[in-house]
Symmetry: C2
Subunit: 364 residues, 2 copies
């Protein structure tokens, strides 16, 4: 019987959690919510699902060392943490994941899971993944896990479900009618009202040979580009030098575009677990217990006559907020951010200026 | 002819500029406006008026060392910096000042000047003080320097001027009809409209013997309490031990209440110079040149899509404000404050909580 694998994608620039997150310390390496880095929380969640040797983490060169440090207590083999020398979006990472899995078991089934989501209901999460593994085991379908939307979010792609397909472990799966990219607010509202749209959370379960066949068909350049990687893995050669040669030549392309939107065998499992991608600072607050005035604080903080603020301090520094509502204040040893919750998306514009107007390397 | 003296009162707790100001580092020791501490700016302003030996600074024990350090480049005699062992408001300080001056010249005339005001027109300031010295030289009157109000401030006492008295050096002085304490906003508006009210800025010029006589008459306990100080000064004994014995027994009393409201020989010189006591953070902004969006920044600061903010950073720390208007953000190495300009007066409530809820000593 085919083995199951987990491939955690631990990439991302983490700009939205600046100044806590930096290029070398993105969101999944931070305990944004909870006491450990989100990557460690993800590893703890998936560990009971497969043997530890069957867990891979794909990350970037600049984060590799920190990612390896988070993986160490989980006793992952060193070779299971693979660093992409340059970022090329998700399709090359999925191709690399398929190659890693196929080298271990040509019939292997694997889950692709982001490292930086917050999920509290671990039991339901594992049950859904077990059902998805069972569904994908035959190699017939690609399983995507869809999240039932509770608001007209414009920051995610959506999956429209079609007819019921099959059930596994009492979890119902549906055929996918279509994948749609991030919608406008008006369209997102229609999706929410329609009831048959789910958020595409970037979680997939599928067989390695099926993924490789699909890439060969729908993204032949990418598939061919990764041939030296497959050869190195089969020959047991070190992966680093090969990736360094191959990756810069690959085109940037998302797995949604390269594969899912084109495949006709995708099914969706509506998740039974809670899920939050914690997209930016305002989303952090809802995972903490606020004080009586609705303030969420972390570290040495005093809020006087203020409501619904989110205030983080590091290193014993005293951060005080007086007479202000709905502010985000994040202090780190070398940089501080003050932004109204409603303006958190403008951090991106700030970071462009940090890059051009300061000794950017130091702050990003 | 009687000699002229300057006595700078460098006390104050500096709570309103927290976290830059602390108990041991109040406003006059900070370069809140300008490149040097306000005390140094005051010393530089008065230096041409009298010999440096005739300049005294009265401060508090906790600030004495830092005050002495600011005075050093001005070459004040070490004994001219006198520390009150405990604060007893302004009347004891004026009594001490009179004793210091009288010990040097029994007919000495002295100006009492706060250390922490911002005055840009140094020439007009010196001209006014010279006129005030001339007016006070006879020992007939107490001269107070009044500031023409430009808003109905409730944070100052007022002086109502009466009939014209005399002119000195082409500066007109008026008899004082009355001193009034900090008014309500409604009353302050009436004062502003009336046109004959001036702000009491705590600047006085008067003869030492006249002050001592007036204290003996209007504040006999204080005058008697300071007798050992006068004796020590006349005998040339060290002042420290005497002050330590005498001061704790003195009652807290302001010079306005103990002396000026009761004396019938007070005249007022309406100031020809600009004046700002820079009472709190929002007042700081008007002494800086703002950027095109009205932001005033100091240190390593970036404001993105924000207007009229006042942002201070220390020690190379990067402070960023995104999408917020009219905020005060002050970062220091161990504490940060975020407060809307309109709420700056609530820092006092914050500091009470800092005292009770944290290891207060460290932060205050």
């Amino acid at each position: 019987m085919a083995e199951n694998f987990i491939v955690i994608i631990a990439g991302g620039k983490g700009e939205r959690f600046w100044p806590q997150s930096r290029a070398h310390r993105p969101k999944h390496l931070l305990p944004i919510v909870g006491d450990t880095p989100l990557l460690a929380q993800t590893l703890a969640r998936v560990r009971p699902l497969v043997p530890v040797n069957n867990i891979f983490v794909i990350t970037s060169a600049v984060q590799a060392k920190a990612v390896a440090a988070v993986c160490r207590p989980f006793k992952l083999p060193v070779a299971n943490v693979v660093a992409e020398p340059v970022g090329r979006d998700t399709a090359p990472a999925v191709g690399l994941a398929a190659a890693l899995v196929a080298a271990r078991d040509p019939e292997g089934v694997f889950a692709v899971l982001p490292a930086d989501h917050v999920i509290h209901d671990t039991q339901a999460y594992r049950a859904d993944l077990r059902a998805a593994f069972a569904a994908a085991a035959g190699g017939e379908v690609f399983v995507t896990i869809g999240i039932k939307p509770h608001e007209p979010a414009t920051g995610f792609g959506y999956v429209q479900r079609g007819a019921a397909w099959k059930s596994f472990a009492r979890r119902k799966l549906f055929r996918v009618r279509r994948f749609v990219e991030k919608p406008s607010l008006a369209v997102a509202r229609r999706y929410l009202a329609a009831g048959d749209f789910l958020w595409n959370a970037g979680m997939f379960v599928w067989g390695a040979p099926a993924v490789e066949r699909a890439l060969a068909r729908h993204a032949p350049e990418l598939h061919a580009g990764l041939a030296p990687v497959r050869a190195a893995l089969v020959a047991g050669r070190a992966l680093g030098p090969v990736l360094k040669k191959v990756y810069p030549k690959l085109a940037k392309i998302s797995v949604d575009y390269a594969l899912l939107e084109k495949a006709d065998n995708v099914v969706v499992l509506p998740a039974a677990f809670d899920w939050d991608d914690v997209g930016a600072w305002p989303a952090v607050a809802k995972h903490f217990k606020p004080d009586a005035a609705g303030n969420v604080t972390c570290g040495r903080v005093l809020v006087e006559q203020g409501r619904r603020n989110l205030v983080f301090s590091a290193g014993g520094h005293l951060v005080t907020v007086v007479g202000a509502d709905d502010l985000i204040v994040v202090h780190t040893p070398d940089a501080t951010l003050v932004v109204p919750k409603a303006r958190a998306q403008d951090i991106k514009a700030l970071l462009k200026r940090v890059e051009t107007e300061t000794d950017g390397e130091k702050w990003l």
